[in-house]
Symmetry: C2
Subunit: 118 residues, 2 copies
DNA sequence: CACAATGCTATTTTATGTGTAGCATGATAC
DNA sequence: GTATCATGCTACACATAAAATAGCATTGTG
């Protein structure tokens, strides 16, 4: 599938409203996970693959392609890293970490230690 | 597909880390779009369907099921609405609206008026 | 009672994602 | 210099999820 571009119809959305294009992009499997893993710094293809629980190379490559076209990720000699746009995006995404831990605790009865170790 | 639950393996993630379970949930087609549309208030099934560009009822129903199990959406006599968890989640999601418009402008050369009308 | 809207379910078709194999390239190790 | 290894992918074949459409039971309205 082609990477979503605001202004053009995207998967599930025909209008191309920017927020829907963004939701389409981030809604693809592992898209947010890849951005999440890149927040700690640049990463090679294989090492990114390992961080993403050995995601299949075809899907990783496809997600990287989407994220590169969206100017969120770029390739360098060190492998892949977040662009400036990627940095501003992960800044918005970061609060989801704490939110998800509280959610796991309160909604799914995770214990403190379960949340801590995960 | 079953709804993702922190602590159990989810689509694409075997560990069940809360953030990955959340990314799995929000990464399903229209999941973020549905939450987004519910931010303005409760909505009936058909009206939600219309707001989501006539998404197919099967996928809407499936997403609502996931979001209900995750305690993000609940059913009331008026139709569906965000729970308290849903409200805290949409608070984190809301900044993506402005981000996506800037992104559309700067990365994809949208004009002010294009962004405004969409 | 006819008619329309609502809230779905079922079914088929198509698009996506998963898993695995493997190959070209470059860096070490001997 | 060649055997070995890691890397960065590509290419399938198979499984799963999403899209599109039809339609039905229920409730409300004139």
């Amino acid at each position: 599938m082609s990477a979503p571009v605001p202004g053009k119809p995207v998967r599930g959305s025909k209008t191309g409203v920017p927020i829907m294009a963004l939701f389409d992009l981030l809604g693809r499997t592992w898209a947010m996970g890849v951005v999440w893993q890149l927040q700690e710094g640049p990463c090679t293809f294989r090492s990114l693959q390992r961080k993403c629980e050995n995601i299949s190379p075809s899907i990783l490559n496809s997600r990287l392609k989407d994220l590169k076209e969206a100017a969120i990720v770029e390739r360098t000699l060190d492998g892949y890293r977040l662009t400036e746009w990627g940095e501003t995006l992960i800044a918005l995404l970061r609060p989801f970490g704490a939110w998800s831990r509280e959610w796991a605790q309160k909604v799914f009865a995770f214990t403190d230690s379960e949340v801590a170790q995960r």
